[in-house]
């Protein structure tokens, strides 16, 4: 057993750190730390900086223009980026569509779409969830009817993250109502500037402008934009959901949140002393830190097993549950550290008190991160997956 990085991995980490130190604007990092909405330009700018180093698509093989990193390297990159409060790489093109096209797309699709993702020509978003479907993703109803060399799409998608910035959307659509509900689903790439596409923002309870509804009203999509085979989309969707697993635990984000909590607890006064010295609060902080120390190793154990070719099983479900629990506990503690200061919000039309971004961000982050245990398969779904596997033995 050896828990240390190889010299190569250590050198890689140092290179990432140096890059972040040199290239990440502190004002941008502060916005990320305070969970403020970033502008489209800020996100695109960060993508471009990464791409100039060849690091935008760490998970892509080199043949497609990616960095071809190992799982451990990706883990290092994600953890360092999160701790430095770098903007998160918008995942829809890089982490989601890219691997699907590489695995199931035609040569033409690969040649056309993959470079456009890397150089920022397209901003992709995801059209999976539908109103009324909830956890029952396969029950989707948005339909695509074949009409000559086009599909005609009608229906609605929801929870489309950052869809307000996107010019392209990859969708699961229903192309058949025969057989099991999983069997009539296809994977379609849709230009959002096509007539009949409407995007409407959904305001979240912290005021964040993050998710959207997307409507399709007789939207004509070239049949060339079908990925893989008609009615086989569910297979690609499952591949997508299980493919990108290095960051499911969110160790880097949790570590950044813990760093922030400690900073806050040292600054806040409680009974005349720093809150960090209050035994009960210190014990609460220690409890979460200890959970994170264990989960970080659970994550590495599972990466290491995957690197040695063991098939991923219920591990990602376990990491999803524990990872979101830890982050939500950290968010709750940070909010509680602010006590009576935590009764306003920094955004959503509110002009918060000046000089109080930090306190207000704590409440907004707490509210916003309730989503962690809901999206990407709710924690209830993850528990059912784990229990289902255990029931079989």
């Amino acid at each position: 057993m050896d828990m240390s990085f190889t010299p190569e991995e250590t050198a890689f980490r140092d290179e990432i750190r140096a890059f972040l130190k040199a290239e990440l604007d502190p004002a941008l990092a502060r916005k990320v730390r305070l969970h403020h909405d970033l502008t489209k330009a800020e996100m695109e700018g960060w993508h471009a900086k990464l791409q100039s180093r060849g690091w935008l698509a760490g998970n892509w093989p080199k043949e497609f223009g990616g960095a071809g990193w190992t799982a451990i390297q990706r883990h290092i990159f994600e953890e360092e980026s999160a701790r430095a409060h770098a903007p998160r790489i918008v995942p829809f093109g890089i982490a989601m569509l890219g691997p699907v096209l590489q695995k199931f797309g035609s040569k033409e699709q690969q040649d056309h779409w993959l470079p456009r993702i890397l150089n920022g020509d397209d901003w992709w978003c995801q059209g999976y969830s539908e109103p009324g479907a909830g956890s029952d993703l396969a029950g989707l109803r948005c339909e695509a009817r074949r009409d000559g060399d086009h599909y005609v799409v009608n229906g609605q998608k929801t929870w489309t993250t950052l869809g307000q910035h996107a010019n392209m959307i990859f969708c699961l659509v229903r192309t058949s109502t025969e057989g099991k509900k999983q069997e009539g689903i296809s994977f379609l790439l849709i230009d959002m500037e096509t007539p009949g596409v409407t995007v409407r923002p959904i305001v979240l309870l912290d005021g964040a402008a993050e998710v959207n509804e997307v409507w399709f009203d007789n939207v004509r999509v070239p049949a060339a934009n079908l990925v893989g085979t008609e009615n086989e989309g569910w297979t690609y969707a499952k591949y997508l959901l299980t493919h990108e697993r290095t960051n499911i635990a969110g160790v880097g984000f949790a570590t950044a949140a813990l760093d922030n909590l400690k900073r806050v607890a040292r600054a806040q006064i409680h009974r005349g002393k720093p809150l960090s010295e209050d035994p009960a609060f210190a014990a609460d902080m220690a409890s979460v830190e200890i959970e994170l120390m264990a989960m970080s190793t659970t994550n590495l154990r599972m990466l290491s097993a995957a690197a040695q070719g063991q098939a991923p099983g219920i591990e990602s479900s376990m990491l999803k549950i524990k990872g979101t629990q830890i982050r939500q506990r950290l968010d709750a503690l940070t909010r509680r550290a602010y006590g009576g200061q935590a009764m306003a919000l920094p955004q959503g039309g509110n002009e918060g008190p000046e000089d109080a971004d930090e306190a207000l961000a704590a409440t907004a982050t707490w509210l916003n991160n309730r989503k962690l245990s809901i999206y990407g398969g709710s924690n209830e779904i993850q528990r059912s997956i784990i229990a289902g596997a255990m029931a079989k033995g």
Partner: protein
């Protein structure tokens, strides 16, 4: 032993529910005033007509359940503190929380002679107020809106009340008395916030139960999924606990201070924790829709958090209960 409402209070409750059903937004405050709600919060000695724990509890539970703001608490504290100090009546905003500290007083706001310097945050009830009721480490002060050295920067609070920061620079102030001398008034205000929280808690619970009954997934209503059903059962237990904690404080509002403060602290801890739990679980049990501002839950969640936070959250009161310290001193 009798846990029923008196006939008077039942009538008050009916009238209040009627007003809350018919009015909201800017029209609500005048309608509540017409019903005599502001006076109902004051004791006879303070120029009101009831001020009993039971009246305070029932009024604020109804406000919380209906989604009305808890703003009247601030006005009540000011009016009662002025009456107790023998001053003329005036409308005062309550300035208690300070930046840079969880719940300490006197960290960012200090008295020197008869002047105050420093900053208060999350000030409630400033709209239309003639001045501020300001706390320091151990005293209550009145500061006039128009006095020199007084600056107010308004912003909305997360529960949609108007709020703001109060910045004082050597501002003249009138000392109304020691904090501990006004502990009865402050206890009544805590009861109001706790009862308000209970109302929001029941609203969150009812909305979530309703959703689980109506919403179907995989062909069944969500409440038919045992894991969710059992969590709803646990929430139902905690809602009853919160109700009992409010009953305990309202029944001991006039008890001797040490006993009253134990119930006060226990009440705020129980309600605060139930509010946090309901905030987390009602969003989770709803799923994505519960995260949206458009759906009714969004505002409820923010009011739950605000109800926990107001006048000392569960952490603050738990610590004081454990150390057997008075609630205000």
């Amino acid at each position: 032993m009798d846990f029923q409402l008196s006939d008077d209070h039942r009538m008050l409750q009916d009238s209040l529910r009627g007003v809350l059903a018919r009015h909201s937004g800017d029209g609500l405050a005048p309608a509540l005033a017409e019903l005599g709600i502001p006076e109902a919060l004051l004791t006879e000695a303070e120029g009101g007509f009831d001020g009993s724990g039971a009246a305070v509890a029932l009024i604020f539970e109804e406000l919380g359940r209906a989604g009305a703001p808890s703003t009247p608490v601030a006005a009540m504290i000011g009016a009662a503190a002025l009456a107790q100090a023998g001053h003329d009546a005036a409308v005062l905003a309550f300035a208690d929380a300070e930046p840079g500290t969880r719940h300490d007083r006197g960290v960012a706001m200090r008295a020197e002679g008869e002047c105050l310097t420093g900053r208060k945050t999350m000030v409630i009830g400033a709209e239309g107020a003639q001045g501020f009721l300001v706390t320091t480490a151990d005293a209550l002060w009145r500061v006039d809106r128009d006095a020199e050295g007084v600056e107010f920067r308004p912003y909305p609070l997360m529960d949609d009340q108007p709020g703001g920061d109060l910045i004082l620079c050597d501002a003249p102030a009138t000392r109304l008395g020691a904090l501990s001398g006004h502990d009865g008034v402050l206890a009544r205000a805590v009861l109001a916030h706790a009862a308000y929280g209970l109302g929001v808690i029941t609203a969150a619970f009812d909305l979530t139960l309703d959703y689980l009954r109506q919403r179907k997934q995989f062909g069944q209503p969500l409440i038919a999924f045992q894991a969710l059903a059992h969590r709803m059962a646990d929430l139902a237990v905690e809602v009853e606990q919160a109700r009992s904690a409010v009953v305990n404080l309202s029944g001991h509002l006039d008890a001797e201070p040490a006993l009253r403060d134990r119930h006060l602290q226990a009440c705020k801890v129980t309600v605060g924790r139930a509010a946090r739990l309901l905030a987390e679980e009602s969003v989770q049990l709803h799923g994505g829709i519960g995260m949206t501002e458009e759906y009714a839950l969004g505002g409820i969640i923010r009011r739950l958090i605000a109800a926990d936070t107001a006048m000392g959250d569960a952490d603050y009161h738990l610590e004081r209960f454990a150390l057997a310290e008075p609630a205000f001193a």
